[in-house]
């Protein structure tokens, strides 16, 4: 046996720091007489040889240091992690290392399916549990597949979740390592988790059980039966049966959620003597490790296997940040499918209904006091939908990520974001809207007299056809807001936009249809039978996630528009009474002013700033962000600080903004390039830029203060770099 693999009997107590918590725990349990699956541990030396000999360590360093972690949003951390993962996928294990790994793997597993699990050194030494930060893969068959998944487990040392907890984990590119556990797969018919001590009551133990694989229990897809027991005696205190409907089973090379046969739906997965046996297992583990354990187990026939054991800890503490919420965004395929159903069948219709109800209300007869109440009510409604958006819509964006990961695993593309080309083409509402705008613009381009009447703001002088097209645009999208501007309330702003768009060549979206079809075929060709169905469903889910990422914001915009309508009515009344009311006044203040004649608005602070850095002799010359839309663009910067700035946008300029809101994407087709402070590949700005083939860089901190209006800017969407000032590029 080479030193690059250790079987469980070979693991000694001094190996603990090397083999990590999982590997060491299995070795202890095997020695203690518990039934554990045969396993091989691949210690960190193999990881170190891989990252050193392939140059991947430098790649990780460069990816992690694109920008300061404090400046990165969670989405950027995910992107960074995906790039690192792709590097591990792209680079094969060198021959010298293969020679050390293959013989022991083949000797032990031959043609058996295995689980390839992370076993990061030190992960169990922390006071809190970091379970789930690194990857584990189940049902891996064949030596080559095992080697590939070893690389993926190594890559997960740099998973987005691990990066979020980098400080607690002490992640360091030059020091951190990863051990891997390759373990024979035990496809149990009944599985679960035993908690040697109930975290909520130290006198109790808890046993959870499901039919099928326990992966579904761990990720919350299948509800388990639950037993509470006396810790002292093992006596059952209570049994809480689950609503048993589904089971996760191993099918044709993958796992699938299946309906649970009727006879099992009415029978608990464990009989009372089996509950006792599982409890005995948790006690034995506690004796072996010296503290209450959280034990994963499975029954194959009547034989009880221990899959893993770890100390019961307080779990990852949330502290004062949002990290546990971010972690909850990682959803399983099944979870995302039901989320989609919920969004499409309930959330969106309810949102439209809510906006429609508000639109029906005539605000004119309201007294000032009543109007103030209505503004506050609408603000509450807005808050409710913001919360629901965060709870349902944001997590659904993970559908794109899940698809991307599977796409990269099977196709190993050089560009880790190539999967987005396959998601494109979904009929997003913002694209429909832009097409309707383009239709209006075409008429303006053809008819100079119409252009002139728009310039003067004369609606009456318009041709009937144009008037009809305009009405149908306003009927569908007139309530669109960007910040405080609504098209139907301020047609002059819309006319200015149409004239602006008419002054440049029509938008020509590159035809990607053919490439997309070919890529789709290539992706699906990597799957067979049942797996092919899963792949198609996953692609469909990814597309829905991509489309809804943009669309749900348009729907949110409709709610927002009704809030704006009430606030604008309030402002109008205040001004009629000659009370000072700033254009940017918040709804809450407008409501207060309507109620209280003595209320005084604060004078607005001008947001029109010169980039302050320039004043002190400091100027950004080259800024690094994330490459979010490939291509190179050179042009004058148009920095968007206020809604009005958007209407001054000229075709061919570089759009520089804090974040592209879906309601402002109508200006995107005019832009030669996009620079955004908010970072990420899967944010609205990046998605819409990709749709139009516009070079885009996101995640430039202080973009709007480092770049000034009119400055020549080069956007390198391949590398994610923005160069300020003249360059030699054409």
């Amino acid at each position: 046996m080479t030193p690059y693999t250790l079987s469980l009997p070979e693991i000694k107590s001094e190996d603990h720091p090397r083999v990590g918590g999982k590997g060491f725990a299995l070795a202890v349990m095997a020695r203690g007489g518990l039934q554990v699956p045969p396993a091989l541990c691949i210690p960190p030396e193999a990881y170190l040889e891989f990252v050193t000999s392939t140059g991947i360590r430098e790649k990780i360093l460069m990816e992690l240091d694109r920008k300061a972690f404090e400046d990165m949003r969670w989405e950027e951390i995910w992107d960074t992690s995906l790039r690192i993962r792709n590097a591990f996928l792209q680079i094969a294990i060198p021959e010298s290392l293969r020679e050390k790994l293959i013989p022991p793997l083949e000797a032990m597993f031959s043609r058996k399916a295995v689980a390839v699990r992370s076993s990061a050194p030190g992960e169990d030494s922390a006071k809190t549990s970091f379970a789930g930060l690194h990857e584990s893969y189940i049902h891996i068959l064949g030596t080559e597949a095992i080697l590939e998944h070893i690389r993926l487990v190594w890559a997960s040392l740099w998973s987005d979740r691990a990066l979020l907890y980098r400080k607690e984990l002490g992640l360091d590119v030059e020091k951190s390592t990863m051990a891997v556990l390759v373990q024979e797969m035990i496809s149990g018919e009944r599985s679960g988790v035993a908690f040697g001590r109930n975290p909520l009551d130290s006198n109790q133990a808890v046993i959870e059980a499901v039919y099928g694989l326990n992966q579904a229990l761990v990720d919350g897809t299948v509800e388990p039966d639950r037993w509470f027991l006396k810790r002292e005696t093992g006596d059952i205190i209570s049994h809480h049966p689950a609503h048993r409907e589904k089971t996760l089973v191993y099918l044709a090379g993958g796992v699938r959620l299946e309906p649970l046969p009727l006879e099992k739906q009415s029978t608990p997965p464990l009989g009372s003597s089996e509950v006792g046996e599982v409890f005995g297992l948790s006690r034995k583990a506690e004796t072996l490790f010296g503290s209450p354990q959280d034990v994963e187990w499975t029954y194959r026939g009547d034989l009880l296997f221990t899959l893993q054991s770890r100390p019961i800890t307080a779990g990852v503490s949330d502290g004062e940040d949002n990290r546990s919420w971010y972690l909850s965004l990682h959803r399983s395929f099944e979870n995302l499918k039901s989320l989609r159903l919920n969004i499409e069948k309930e959330i969106i219709p309810q949102m439209l209904e809510e906006a429609g109800r508000m639109a029906q209300i005539d605000l004119a007869p309201f007294s000032d006091r009543e109007l103030a109440g209505e503004i506050e009510r609408r603000l509450q409604i807005g808050k409710k939908w913001d919360d629901r958006y965060k709870e349902y819509c944001i997590p659904f964006a993970h559908g794109m990520r899940l698809f991307g990961q599977v796409f990269n695993d099977v196709l190993k593309p050089e560009d880790p974001f190539e999967f987005m080309d396959l998601l494109r083409g979904a009929e997003m509402i913002s694209l429909q809207r832009n097409r309707m705008l383009e239709n209006l613009v075409r008429r303006v381009r053809r008819n100079p007299r119409l252009a002139e009447s728009l310039r003067r703001g004369h609606r009456k002088a318009m041709t009937p056809e144009f008037g009809k097209a305009l009405e149908s645009f306003l009927a569908k999208f007139g309530d669109q807001t960007w910040s405080k501007t609504r098209f139907d309330r301020d047609p002059k702003a819309l006319f200015a936009l149409l004239l602006n768009m008419a002054s440049r060549e029509p938008i020509r979206r590159g035809s990607v249809e053919k490439d997309r079809k070919a890529l789709e075929k290539k992706f699906l060709s990597r799957f067979d039978g049942e797996e092919k169905i899963f792949a198609s469903e996953l692609l469909d889910l990814g597309r829905a996630s991509y489309r809804l990422r943009d669309d749900d914001n348009i729907y949110m915009g409709k709610i927002q528009a009704q809030i704006v309508a009430a606030v604008e009515e309030g402002k109008k009344r205040l001004r009629r009474k000659e009370r000072f009311c700033p254009a940017q006044a918040e709804g809450q203040d407008v409501a207060r002013a309507l109620r209280d004649a003595r209320f005084v608005f604060k004078k607005p602070v001008s947001s029109r700033m010169k980039p302050e850095k320039e004043k002190e002799g400091v100027r950004g010359r080259q800024l690094v962000g994330q490459p979010a839309g490939p291509g190179i663009a050179v042009g004058k910067a148009r920095v968007i600080l206020r809604p009005e700035d958007l209407f001054a946008f000229k075709p061919g300029e570089i759009l520089v903004c804090d974040a592209i809101e879906p309601n402002m994407t109508f200006v995107v087709p005019l832009a030669a390039g996009i620079v955004e402070r908010r970072g990420g590949m899967l944010i609205h700005g990046a998605i819409i830029a990709r749709e139009y083939g516009i070079p885009c860089v996101t995640g430039i901190p202080d973009a709007t203060s480092l770049i000034s209006n009119g400055t020549r800017v080069t956007v390198d969407g391949f590398l994610g770099i923005v160069i300020i000032g003249e360059t030699s590029l054409p």
Partner: protein, 150 residues
């Protein structure tokens, strides 16, 4: 203003931690790089180095006073991709004389005391670069410009 503070801190660190820098001159358009022992003034306005007057770099800067100087802290290790910073200074170089020489010699020898004999030699010129601008690079590709007021 975090960028200005960051740039000034980087320059201060480079001034104190680095002894050598690369001077860029040219001869009839042909660029020429030389490693020199340098010192910088606290206000970042001046970079000083010593050279004998018979060197090619001295001839070059006499013919065209426009020069560059690259300061960096690379260690030729993997960590450089994360930690290394570099600053390229552009400015005008001129040999110092009289009082001005005295003032700059003091600063220069405080950093390089072992060069006392070299600097005192009648053939050695102490050259001052009046810096106009620094281009400071960190995190591999982030580039900021700091204009130095005359």
């Amino acid at each position: 203003m975090k960028e200005k503070e960051q740039i000034e801190r980087i320059l201060q660190d480079l001034f104190s931690s680095q002894k050598l820098a690369v001077l860029g001159t040219h001869q009839a358009g042909q660029p020429y790089g030389s490693l020199v022992a340098f010192a910088g003034t606290r206000d970042f306005k001046n970079l000083i180095f010593a050279t004998t007057r018979v060197t090619r770099k001295f001839a070059n800067l006499k013919a065209d006073s426009r020069v560059s100087m690259v300061l960096d802290n690379r260690s030729n290790r993997v960590a450089d991709f994360r930690k290394a910073v570099a600053a390229t200074a552009l400015g005008q170089a001129k040999e110092t004389k009289g009082k001005e020489r005295k003032k700059f010699v003091k600063i220069y020898l405080a950093k390089h005391p072992h060069l006392r004999e070299f600097v005192s030699s009648p053939t050695c010129a102490l050259v001052r670069i009046r810096v106009e601008v620094y281009y400071v690079v960190w995190r591999f590709q982030n580039v900021f410009e700091l204009k130095v007021r005359p």
